[in-house]
């Protein structure tokens, strides 16, 4: 298969970027989108040009490192599929494919298609954990959890933190991410003591990093490679409203640690 690519190239965070056209030739239909880019890069290296920088790690759809806005869709045209799991047979021979980085104020570009997603880590640092000493594994069933709750927590915990929700959201909001990361504890007994504080802190952390807010377009759910439901956003909103009526404090986020480059 052959494709005409238009790819965003940008030397570093401050340089001016531009779309550059490349021919992808002799691509196997069984290649993943990233393997197609690897092939293009090999040719670029042979020609003595800089290869296209893009993020990836596991290449099996579980780590959340790969990204890419492909023809205006986060992770490309196949639903509930990461870019690394997207195969070229989903495209037609001769297709023009536009490849862009995630675009959000909170995700500055590092190089080409690679963006800095540490804002999501900072949201996690604000409350995406349970602060108890866990010790050794407890006896089985010493803390009973209903099947429905375990399932709901697991569904939320499927979030791989790739940032597709932010990329697809017209407001560049990370609300679906925050909702998944609060819901995975909100459905378990271990998550209850810090439930209100967690909702407040993680939302404040999201705001601090310059994400937009949710206006219920639901583009995030459609783009999510794990199909996380916007039902979790309703749960977050509900928890947040409840938190406003508890003693949990607003505005107590510790200052951002200084990140060294």
């Amino acid at each position: 298969m052959n494709f005409k690519l238009r790819v965003w190239r940008q030397k570093n965070g401050t340089a001016k970027g531009a779309m550059v056209e490349y021919d992808a030739r002799d691509i196997s239909s069984d290649m993943s989108f990233l393997e197609m880019l690897d092939t293009v890069n090999e040719n670029l290296i042979h020609e003595g040009q800089e290869p296209i920088a893009f993020d990836h790690d596991c290449r099996e759809g579980i780590c959340g490192m790969c990204s890419l806005m492909i023809n205006g869709v986060a992770h490309g045209p196949e639903r509930t599929t990461t870019t690394c799991q997207l195969h070229m047979r989903k495209f037609k021979d001769g297709d023009k494919i536009t490849v862009e980085p995630w675009r959000a104020n909170a995700f500055p570009i590092i190089r080409d298609l690679v963006v800095d997603r540490r804002a999501l880590d900072r949201i996690m640092q604000a409350g995406g954990y349970v602060s108890v000493k866990t010790g050794s594994a407890p006896d089985a069933n010493s803390i009973p959890v209903a099947k429905e709750d375990a399932d709901a927590a697991f569904e939320a915990a499927e979030c791989i933190g790739c940032g597709a929700c932010v990329a697809a959201c017209p407001n560049a909001s990370a609300t679906l991410f925050v909702a998944a990361k609060t819901a995975q504890y909100a459905h378990l007994p271990q998550g209850q003591p810090e439930r209100s504080k967690r909702a407040i802190n993680m939302v404040e952390a999201m705001d601090r990093d310059g994400f937009g807010s949710c206006t219920n377009h639901y583009e995030c759910e459609a783009a999510c490679p794990k199909g996380i439901s916007v039902r979790f956003i309703a749960e977050l909103n509900r928890d947040f409203l409840k938190a406003a009526m508890t003693t949990a404090k607003f505005g107590t986020l510790p200052p951002l640690p200084d990140f060294e480059e």
Partner: protein, 226 residues
Amino acid sequence: MNRLVGLFSTSIGRKLMMAVTGVLLLGFLVAHMLGNMIVFQGQDALNAYADWLTGHPMLWIARAHLLAFFALHTYLGVRLATENRIARPTRYQHRTRHQASTPASRYMILTGLVVLAFVAYHLAHFTFGAVDPGYPALVDDQGRHDVYGMIVHGFRQPWIVGTYVVAMLLLGTHLIHGARSLFQTLGLNHESFNVIIRVMTLGLVMLIVLGNISIPLFVYFGLPTH
């Protein structure tokens, strides 16, 4: 920190306030539309209703509340839209494919600003008589302000009818997304309720919009006389 201030300084807190002010304004729209329907009972009924309303001791309290809700909702809406624009400073070059959002959800700020402009025009038209300076002086044979006469006179002009109809359709667009969205914002949602929420809110919005639109249309094409 004061809890209300704390709430106001978070994005979800402000969204909650948008939803609450939105519901209250929706309640007003329903009451206003039902009141308007009295026009179909004829001149005497409508003027009596208007006379009762304007003489009501609670009138200014109600107006002050309405103004406050409207101002807060508008301020938060403009702020929300601005912040969300800033959150994506660089647009995508390829047109983003919309997989779930609707034109109604994407043009909330636009339809909202049209509603704002329409409310200003509507008040100038009927309440302040700025569009037609003759209106405040209109009196019926019982000495009451002739609201019925104002409406009949106003809606004989095709461009005024057009303005009201277009404004109501755009208000309807705002409300179609707004009315269903507020359930999600207030956390009263689950996918099991999607269909019922969509159907019920669509019905409510159609009631408001069609009820209001029927007045200029009936007047223009001949109000059934009593």
